[in-house]
Amino acid sequence: MERRKIGSAWNTARQQYSIFMVLAFLFVICSRANPNFLSIANISNISRQLSVTTILAFGETILIIGGMLDLSAGSVIALSGVLAVASFKGAVAASVPVWGALILSFAAGVATGVACNIVNAMMITNFKVPPFIATLAMQTMARGAALLYTKGQNLLRLGDFVVFGQGSIASVPTPIIFMVCIFIVTWYTLRHTRFGRSIYAIGGNEEAAVASGIAVGRVKYKAFLFNGILVGIAGVLFMSRVNAGLPNGAINFEFQALTAAIIGGTSFSGGIGTAAGTLAGAFIVGFLDNIMNLTGVDSYVQQIVRGAIIALAVIYDIWAKGRRRTRSSLGDIDKKGVTA
């Protein structure tokens, strides 16, 4: 009886937390493979490297849960990032105090991210453009705007702007603080707000959501608003981390973000996904890239391994969820055997 209880708890854990087990397994393997892996400096490195795409991944998670996606994230990072850098430099040149310039530039980055995503939402909800196409259009437009604004040249000499991406508070790097805060906000939003419940319902069955009185259009706007804030923050962090305004930076970041979300168990058919899963998905990719760099794996081999692991992680996840039936059946047969 007692054993059966433990057994079923283990099964529940495996179904729900399979992706975290993959992560833990990978963590153990990596620690074994290279002694440098487990250093605080290295773990902090990984987290810092992951922070930008993970922040994007939280936005993508919410959109995918709602049956949408954002292909424009990488380009909008470039646009909001260079505009943030430009407004910082402009403010400093106009002898605004540094803290004021920082706030102004951060606001400019976020505002740009939000503006682009409101246009995304408008195309999708008001004009019924499929999200794939709408955000693809925005991808091209935002990239063009970033290049146009900078004439294709990198913005340099960022001065104190680098605190966003390179600074730290109580020896925790700022990008990690942003990532953790955004994780908590995303988790809370999905778990504890009306908006969270609504977005799951919309992605799960939009017509049923409408019939339950949910204002679907408004919820979709909110999802893109959320995504826009995240993309804007990511833009500021990215430019600050690389200490340059790169109009052609962050290309394909949306795909890294989508990868993290999908590995983390977000379902492209909508209605399923969690913030914690996405975080785990991002770290699975991060651990892998890191251990391969630490152990000096050839670049080309790295690409093959990365692809294979993505496939394997998802296959394992599906397999672990599928096993729940057979597993619990065995449990019940045991019980019968005892009573009979």
Binding site: N126, N154, N293
Partner: protein, 320 residues
């Protein structure tokens, strides 16, 4: 908001279109029409070159320059060359995305009796075409010559490569192999990765190397962008005070890093020099002063000793 949204969006898109079209539409009657087909406006050197060529063309009143963007796409670039032939430009300057892919199209330019110039990088061996370029092998070699005297015995170095298959990336790496690593078997490469010319990717690799390697004496980078990324990681870290760092391009960022003493050297691939030489060659070809020109700009090495000269050049050009 809901009811105004459609109007707002339509207006926004229309405004974007109108602005873009207005910016592109100007008509002048010049003697010679020249097409410059850039590899990709999104590539920062290519964009710099395009800007420089536009500025330089302004000095030639009889030349009217149109710039096209190949968007790093062979098919697009080839299509643009064909269009330029059809539109009967007097001279077509091609900055190839991939030399071999554009070769037959440049041959068609020559066949159509139009002056063809290839640049950055040149396409060799097309009779009747001209070329103006910087030699990527030489750009790396001038760095190698310096590194031979600087990098200590049994040093550990990390190497950052550009995209595989890219002519400049491959030639620069080849030069480092022949002109440095083959001559210095004592030096060990402890990390080598492809960072696709990108600053952020180079940062990630360098961060991991700093973790895994107890000693790194030098960064060998195929361009300045990646070199700057790697240096960003070790900024302010006293362990890397004596780190040597070599790049290519002479970007504003690299020049500043050399001035600060954080970067060792780079080879200037000056878009201004290239643009100047391109336009003067174009002029000579158009006026019939010469039939075929194949020339290179110089490969000046920038180090702490001469960096001030380059700071002045960049400042004069408004890049700093």
């Amino acid at each position: 908001m809901k009811t105004h949204a459609p109007k707002f969006l339509a207006l926004f898109l229309a405004a974007v279109l109108a602005l873009t079209l207005a910016a592109g539409g100007k008509a002048e009657a010049a003697q010679y029409r020249v097409a410059y087909i850039a590899r990709a406006q999104a590539d920062s050197f290519a964009a710099w070159l395009a800007n420089a060529i536009k500025a330089e063309a302004g000095k030639y009143p009889d030349i009217e320059l149109s710039v096209f963007d190949g968007e790093a796409n062979d098919e697009k670039e080839n299509g643009m060359i064909e269009n330029a032939i059809t539109n009967k430009f007097d001279c077509i300057i091609v900055q190839p995305n991939n030399g071999e892919a554009q070769r037959p199209y440049v041959e068609n330019v020559v066949k159509a009796g139009i002056i063809a110039i290839t640049t950055n990088a040149r396409i060799d061996g097309i009779p009747g075409s001209s070329s103006v370029d910087a030699d990527p092998y030489m750009q790396a070699k001038v760095n190698c010559d310096l590194a031979l005297t600087q990098i200590p015995q049994n040093a550990k170095v990390v190497v950052l490569n550009g995209p595989p298959g890219n002519f400049h990336a491959d030639e620069r790496r080849r030069a480092w192999q022949i002109e440095f690593f083959d001559k210095r078997p004592d030096v060990e490469i402890v990390g080598e990765q492809i960072a696709h010319w990108n600053k952020d990717e180079a940062m990630t690799f360098m961060e991991d190397w700093v973790q895994s390697q107890s000693q790194i004496d030098a960064i060998v980078s195929m361009n300045d962008n990646m070199c700057a990324g790697a240096l960003e990681v070790v900024k302010g870290n006293p362990k890397f005070d004596k780190l040597f760092a070599y790049g290519v391009d002479g970007t504003a960022e690299a020049v500043l890093l050399i001035k600060e003493g954080r970067m060792t050297a780079t080879c200037m691939q000056s878009a201004y020099d290239l643009a100047e030489l391109l336009l003067s060659s174009t002029d000579k070809l158009l006026t019939g002063a010469e039939k075929e020109i194949n020339t290179d700009i110089g490969n000046p090495l920038i180090t702490k000793d001469n960096v001030e000269d380059f700071v002045k050049i960049l400042e004069a050009a408004g890049a700093l």
